[in-house]
């Protein structure tokens, strides 16, 4: 495996691919990546810095933490402040502000919020604290949601009745289709999310690309993966037939992971949900099915969702659609920083504003 990684990080191959890309200088190519890890990898590897100027990379809504709405975080804090509740969460959510405090700030007021690496680790917390209710903050796309579904099923099988989830899970296809339909966004090609595709497969991508005539690639995350995928995507854009190429075959099968995908829909069903910075996208969310409602913190604690939520003061929606650059936001690197984020894209390290802040603030990228 290490030998493979050496090849996927080979500077000579990277340089060769970039030279080849520089031959395509006749027009501008607007490419949107749809995975936060791609956003980070493109910055961190330096690929973004060396690309020819006519190839424009736009960071779409590919980070599940960034698109989690304010009302979700407000409810998470409310739960964590309850005396008989322990909230468990991925570390990324601890600093996310809602309309009030973040979980990290609430901890100083006595909130019990604990970081777990895996949703399954929450079951151990629940069995060790039988007098408390343990609520896992369940955000994520198709890569993550099957693992939460598995955790809920395990809790039921093992009779762990003090475990619940606060579902804020989302699915990608409806959001990608919204971007494909938006004439202002004017995307030439999609960088489909590699790890979402490892579960969801590539069929949904092929349907969207064909329907809207916007080609796409499924790509890995190493520098050579990224440059090769950009080169292939530029060629597909010139061919203009809305094709999708899977260039991450070592991980992504065209059919996806059916066991994981089916487990997700056995436990969850589609619902409307708000994408922070974008608004409500009908049927792009996931909620627990009736058979699992005893595990549903929204129902058990009678919590309210605000589908009409609006966030004032930042231009996250326009940034997520690639209409504006982070540096065009009046709050960027002033009122809004990674330590005190205001908007969606600065919240997680994989958000486009956070990535621009860390790697591109002083460069013209």
């Amino acid at each position: 495996m290490n030998d493979f990684l050496k090849d996927f990080r080979n500077p000579e191959i990277s340089s060769m691919l970039n030279n080849e890309l520089s031959k395509y200088k006749d027009r501008t190519y607007r490419i949107m990546e749809l995975c936060g890890t791609h956003t980070m990898s493109l910055f961190k590897s330096g690929v973004r810095d060396i690309l020819p100027g006519n190839i424009k990379l736009i960071s779409g809504p590919g980070c599940p933490v960034c698109v989690t709405p304010n009302y979700y975080m407000d409810n998470a804090v409310k739960l964590a402040m309850m005396k008989d509740v322990i909230v468990t969460t991925f570390g990324d959510l601890m600093r996310v502000p809602g309309n009030g405090k973040s979980l990290l700030e609430a901890k100083t007021d006595g909130a019990d919020a604990r970081v777990v690496y895996s949703p399954i680790d929450s079951l151990k917390v629940a069995t060790e604290n039988p007098d408390k209710k343990v609520v896992f903050l369940s955000v994520g796309f198709e890569t993550t949601t099957p693992i939460v579904a598995l955790t809920v099923k395990k809790a039921r099988e093992e009779g762990i009745n003090n475990f619940l989830i606060l579902s804020g899970n989302k699915t990608m296809p409806a959001a990608i289709e919204l971007l494909a339909m938006d004439k202002d966004v004017a995307i030439d090609g999609f960088f489909y999310p590699g790890h979402v595709c490892s579960v969801a497969g590539t069929e949904y991508a092929r349907i969207i690309s064909k329907k809207y005539g916007i080609p796409g690639v499924v790509a890995g995350f190493e520098p050579v993966d990224l440059l090769y995928a950009i080169l292939e995507l530029v060629k597909l854009i010139n061919e203009g037939n809305g094709e999708v190429k899977n260039l991450y075959g070592r991980v992504v099968r065209d059919e996806g992971n059916l066991d994981a995908y089916n487990t997700m829909f056995e436990v969850f069903k589609p619902c409307d949900t708000v994408w922070r910075g974008i608004g409500n996208i009908p049927m792009s969310g996931l909620e627990l099915r009736e058979a699992y409602e005893a595990f549903d913190a929204w129902k058990v604690f009678d919590l309210k969702q605000n589908i009409d939520e609006k966030i004032n003061g930042c231009i996250c929606g326009e940034i997520l659609k690639g209409l504006k650059e982070p540096s065009e936001c009046p709050l960027f690197a002033k009122a809004c920083t990674p330590n005190k984020p205001v908007g969606a894209c600065m919240v997680s390290s994989e958000g486009s504003c956070a990535a621009h802040y860390k790697y591109g603030r002083n460069k013209n990228v």
Binding site: M1, F4, D7, F8, N10, E12, I13, M16, L17, N19, E20, C35, G36, T37, C63, P64, V65, F90, D92, Y117, S118, P119, I120, D121, V139, G140, F141, T143, T144, P146, I147, L150, P193, G194, H195, V196, S198, V199, V224, Y228, L247, G249, R250, V251, V252, R253, N257, D259, A260, T263, S348, E350
Partner: protein, 74 residues
Amino acid sequence: MCLGLPGRVVELSDKKCIVDIMGATRQIAADFIKDLKIGDYVLIHAGCAVSKIDEDEAKSTIEIFKELEEVMHE
């Protein structure tokens, strides 16, 4: 957040799967992967294997890069 790490399966039973991730070992859930064997590489996300890494596919992708390099140097 959708970070995936490659890990090698070092211990496997009906109830338990231990992987080596760059020298660190950890128990993971392997419920979604069929026909797993010791020595297989898997992509791990949030404590669960989501895909088996296909070494032959990795090799053939690298071959494509090498062929491209040869063509461009000609």
